[in-house]
């Protein structure tokens, strides 16, 4: 091995990335070469200095920082979850009513009353609008399934081409809001169906969607 070869392989040697035979060859060269011995000593010295630098330059967080950070993350996450999905139930029974309204618009149906007649909304072609489904109930529910079936020509923004979307969700006590941002891609329209299932119980809400150009 030459001194030049050693210089090229020095990092691997110091990092312990060489196989035993190669490492032995390099070690033997260093034993007999004063210059390379010094080069190795400097490389190892630099590594030790970096370690010391690492220890000295890292501030310690406050004693309660991790606890506070975990609590804040959970608090923020739960708040966002509640804002995203909202639903309720009572003793395993999905109860209460469905309310629909459009963002910036008016209530389409009286709150807290199961709609005797199908509510309806009017959308303009290619104009996104948010439809909020509100579920009210008395207690929390875990592992409920929500399925939204869309009419022809209507999509949920972000789910292009999907006529049916299903996901697992949980319901909080009180009012829960499910915002669906819809866009009409063609003038067909029809019935939008949202079904909430939990432990064999289910409720389906229907909304008539009309589309104007």
């Amino acid at each position: 091995m030459t001194c030049t070869q050693l210089t090229e392989k020095l990092d691997d040697y110091v990092d312990g990335l060489m196989d035993r035979a190669e490492s032995a060859t390099l070690g033997a060269h260093i034993e007999n070469c004063n210059d390379c011995h010094q080069v190795l000593a400097r490389a190892q010295g630099l590594r030790a200095s970096l370690k010391a630098y690492g220890k000295s330059s890292l501030p310690r967080p406050d004693a309660t920082f991790f606890d506070r950070a975990l609590a804040r993350a959970a608090h923020t996450g739960i708040r966002r979850q509640r804002n995203r999905w909202v639903m309720t139930g009572a003793g395993g029974t999905i109860a209460a009513g469905l309310v629909l309204w459009m963002l910036g618009g008016m209530f389409l149906k009286t709150p807290e009353i199961v709609a005797p007649a199908m509510p309806s909304i009017v959308m303009t072609l290619e104009e996104p609008r948010t439809l909020n489904l509100v579920f009210s109930s008395a207690t929390t529910l875990a592992n409920a399934t929500m399925t939204v079936v869309l009419p022809q020509g209507v999509e949920v923004v972000g789910f292009a081409g999907q006529r049916e979307i299903t996901w697992i969700t949980s319901l909080a006590e009180g009012k829960n809001i499910l915002p669906l941002t819809l866009i009409a891609t063609s003038p067909e329209g029809g019935e939008l169906m949202a079904t909430l299932r939990h432990e064999g119980d289910d409720r389906t809400f229907r909304v008539q969607v009309s589309i104007i150009s």
Binding site: K51, L58, P61, A69, L70, T76
Partner: protein, 183 residues
């Protein structure tokens, strides 16, 4: 808070806690100052909570969390306004003291070591972000090449040659003979 939310909170706590120390260190190495590191750390914890279901399925949460942090840092680099990894402010932070050095009760030698370390910090500050980060992760934080690959997504060979070049630059910055001795 519902029982579901309480369970989520408990799972999150249990899953994250063993990795917080290393995650914090990475946060500081990336962000470069304590306030920015704490912001970055907090952002990543919020992201991790939002992806709790994914996290529960991950076999090795440590590297997964580090990668989330690295990506978040890269995506928000401008917003985070990463300071130099070595700066005057840092020298005033807790931990930057002789107590944290391998002292031998020799004040003169300790002072010399502190001086060496400050010079090293200044030399590191002259490196590019890419070179500085690979040295900080590998030589200071003891991440393996494969772990750095897991975090950054760069091929191991690329990381290895980057590390080699970074060390060469650092030696140059410290002096022509590559030593860290005082003039």
């Amino acid at each position: 808070m519902s029982s579901l939310e309480q369970n989520q909170r408990a799972s999150f706590d249990t899953l994250l806690r063993p990795h917080l120390d290393r995650l914090y260190r990475l946060s500081f190495r990336l962000a470069g100052s304590k306030p920015e590191a704490e912001d970055l750390f907090q952002d990543v914890l919020v992201k991790a909570f939002a992806r709790l279901d994914d996290l529960l399925d991950v076999r090795e949460p440590g590297p997964w969390l580090c990668r989330v942090m690295y990506n978040h840092f890269i995506d928000n680099r401008r917003r985070i306004r990463r300071a130099r990894l070595v700066c005057v402010e840092e020298s005033q932070l807790p931990g930057q003291s002789l107590d944290s050095l391998p002292g031998d009760l020799d004040p003169v030698r300790d002072a010399e070591r502190l001086d060496d370390i400050m010079r090293l910090g200044q030399a590191l500050a002259t490196l590019s972000d890419e070179h500085r980060l690979v040295i900080l992760l590998h030589d200071i934080e003891d991440y393996k090449l494969a772990e750095i690959h897991q975090i950054t997504g760069d091929p191991v060979g690329t990381i290895k040659s980057r590390l080699h070049r970074a060390r060469a630059r650092l030696r140059e910055a410290l002096g022509t003979d590559g030593t860290n001795s005082r003039p």
